[in-house]
Symmetry: C2
């Protein structure tokens, strides 16, 4: 089957990331979607500029309408941001019967109602997973995965810049303005940081989440919005002392008489997972009446995390364009004729680090002998704990953490160690993963 | 439009939960799916038994084939567990052109390959979100939301019983066997706990996750599986001392030569979110090459969390049966003509707790006066910190945490407090949410 031709509006951070992901993972994506996805045309204001992606095979145009009007293009991906000309371009694409994928939260929060009405009329899809919380698939979760629930509330860290600033203020006791400057230097904050630090960006996202969660129209103008500029290091410190952390949250909640929509700094108990989401990461807690609390965590911005959401939307659209409705998503995600026969490794071939607990005679030289055997098998030691023996005990515990090693190597070393007369019991081993 | 008639196989915990969720949330579900879902028939071995759901309007049958063979029933929901007769029933339902929703992890892990082949041949959907990690929508996430990624690894706490036991061992320094007995008393562990504590249940789930993540067939027999029965309180303690926690993980990872599939206890760094998932909760970390790490957290079992997944699958199927493919999922989750006009509350109507930081004269009676004003407005105090003044400072900080109060009440109290001569600056207030 011919690949689906798509057109990109914008070839900056997210556009470049999208081109890179589509090209690097072309095979996996085709195996999942049942059909290739080809970037045919892309609009950019500066075709000669250095960018993060190759552009071979893509026709670059400096007029965005040449993307939208191209009859070959089936899906328009809007990544230019802002509301004008994004709105006009998207509305025209829909008018022409093209599907639209967008990462533009302001566009959806402010103009979603009219865009969706037009899309329904024309029978096209408008997908916007990338508009909220970057790589976290919170739109799909709320629209589809929690569809059996009455959603009670949502609370999210949905602005990475703000969370980075608050995390740094806490970790280092620094002032807001001081950390903001650093964030700007690192590229986490814009030269004009208003949208992030005043909560407007978060309010756009919360508007979208609330509409989907509660089945209400998009009403950005009614979100109560307060930024983080007035938080001081002493507030952070007192909160800590009381067992809380300060996070900038977007909260949408049903209450007796209606719905609350608010973005503001908030103390939350330090033991909550949400309180432990640091740096530029995002996370959203959703409470449904059936499922209870669920949490979704991941990178809220960046070229490829956002591209991950854009491409997921593209695959969603391509699956609908390609398969019968019943076969839209293959049971095992990949097309049945495209499963791979990757071998499964026997456990001896696995590489992990290890925790080793030995029970050894309380006599000199044992630690040295064990360490020598490990070294002989190329196993490096990350940490050791040797405990004093208690009165009356002949054996004492000796604990090692190793670096990564192939399991079969460890088996060999373990046999030799267990053969030592000073080693009083089989080694107790537990694998160790840093999850990095 | 007529509601879709479904048949349940099994009316125990998950079946009862499903009936309850479908009935309680009938309106929300219809607004989302575009069509009602009606439980027409249900198989149960003991029709007279007391159960967690009402059964009015449901025809109870004691022969499961009467559900599968019923020509009125469009979707069969298999909740009896085990592989026989579940497999025969599911295969027959597919043969008859019915869609199937199942929560049966053993069935999918062991017989998924043949079930899916048959389903593809017959053009029906087999949905199984509830088979892995209960209410966490990890199947949808992997099949759809991360479809642009090459998945590098998955690591999950996917057995709540095991996680409960390890959490209790850590919190209370208790022995495995001792906590297991408690878990059995609380109903978290079966009378025969083998499937949970030996990792077989987790291996079923990991088999399914790995197939979907990597595009490989289901190969349960090749999962390396090790349980938690040999973990001792001293291992837990030494791990803690070294900065780690012990969790029972299912890990699927691509490595140079193939794929690793393994279930075993594992030390992980204590600061990771996954290390802080306690009790019967589940969580899965997925690392994709584009998105990086994302984490999904929620209840891994229980009547309504599992029903949440079952009903999401039902809504997925009903949406396909009901709408044009392009309109399968409404843009804002709910059908455009079914949006609600819930009012948005002004911020004065919101109820939250507060952190209040005052700057007050260092003189007797101020705390008492402020506390009196709060009390006069019906605001109770949860905690107070009064700091000593530093030499040369005329004002000292005074911090209150309040219980929940309507914001307009707090505004009134704050005005009166700020009018006190001893209060030297506007109150610094930050809202506080416990997220419960």
């Amino acid at each position: 089957m011919q690949p689906v031709k798509i057109g990109l509006l914008g070839l900056g951070t997210v556009g470049g990331g999208t081109v890179n992901v589509l090209s690097r993972n072309a095979l996996e994506i085709t195996r999942r979607a049942g059909r290739g996805i080809e970037v045919a045309r892309a609009f950019t204001r500066s075709p000669g500029k250095r960018r993060i992606c190759p552009t071979e095979g893509i026709e670059l145009v400096t007029d965005p309408w040449q993307v939208v009007e191209d009859p070959e293009i089936a899906i328009v991906v809007e990544l230019i941001g802002g509301t004008s000309p994004a709105l006009e371009l998207v509305m025209r694409a829909i008018e022409l019967g093209k599907h639209v994928v967008t990462a533009n939260k302001a566009l959806i929060a402010l103009h979603g109602n009219e865009i969706f009405a037009k899309a329904s009329e024309k029978g096209v899809m408008v997908a916007f997973e990338a508009a909220v919380a970057g790589g976290i698939p919170i739109i799909k979760v709320l629209r589809e995965a929690l569809a059996g629930n009455r959603i009670e509330w949502i609370a999210g860290i949905i602005n990475g810049t703000g969370n980075f600033i608050l995390s740094e203020m806490r970790d280092q006791g620094r002032e807001f303005s001081d950390v903001l400057e650093e964030a700007q230097r690192l590229g986490y904050a814009e030269a004009d940081p208003t949208f992030d630090v005043e909560g407007i960006d978060a309010a756009h996202k919360l508007t979208i989440l609330a509409a989907i969660a509660f089945g209400i129209p998009l009403r950005f103008d009614q979100v109560y919005t307060e930024g983080i500029t007035r938080i001081t290091p002493e507030d952070v410190r007192y909160a800590e002392e009381l067992g809380y952390r300060i996070k900038h949250l977007g909260i949408a909640r049903r209450s007796g008489q209606g719905v609350e929509l608010r973005v503001h700094p908030c103390l939350i108990p330090a033991r909550r997972l949400l309180a432990n989401v640091d740096g530029v990461m995002n996370a959203v807690v959703v409470r449904g009446d059936a499922v209870g609390p669920t949490l979704y965590y991941g990178p809220g911005a960046g070229a490829e995390p956002t591209a991950s959401a854009v491409v997921a939307d593209l695959v969603d659209v391509v699956r609908v364009m390609t398969a019968d409705p019943e076969n839209r998503v293959p049971h095992l995600a990949f097309q049945p004729d495209a499963l791979s026969d990757l071998p499964l490794l026997p456990v001896g071939e696995i590489e992990t680090a290890y925790y080793l607990r030995l029970s050894v005679a309380d006599e000199p030289g044992v630690l040295a002998d064990v360490a020598r055997i490990l070294a002989d098998h190329g196993i490096s030691i990350e940490a050791v704990i040797q405990k004093e023996g208690q009165a009356g005990q002949t054996a004492v515990p000796l604990i090692f953490l190793t670096h990564k090693v192939k399991e079969s190597k460890l088996d060999e070393a373990a046999s030799r160690i267990e053969a030592m007369p000073a080693v009083k019991a089989p080694i107790h081993r537990i694998r160790l993963e840093t999850l990095e």
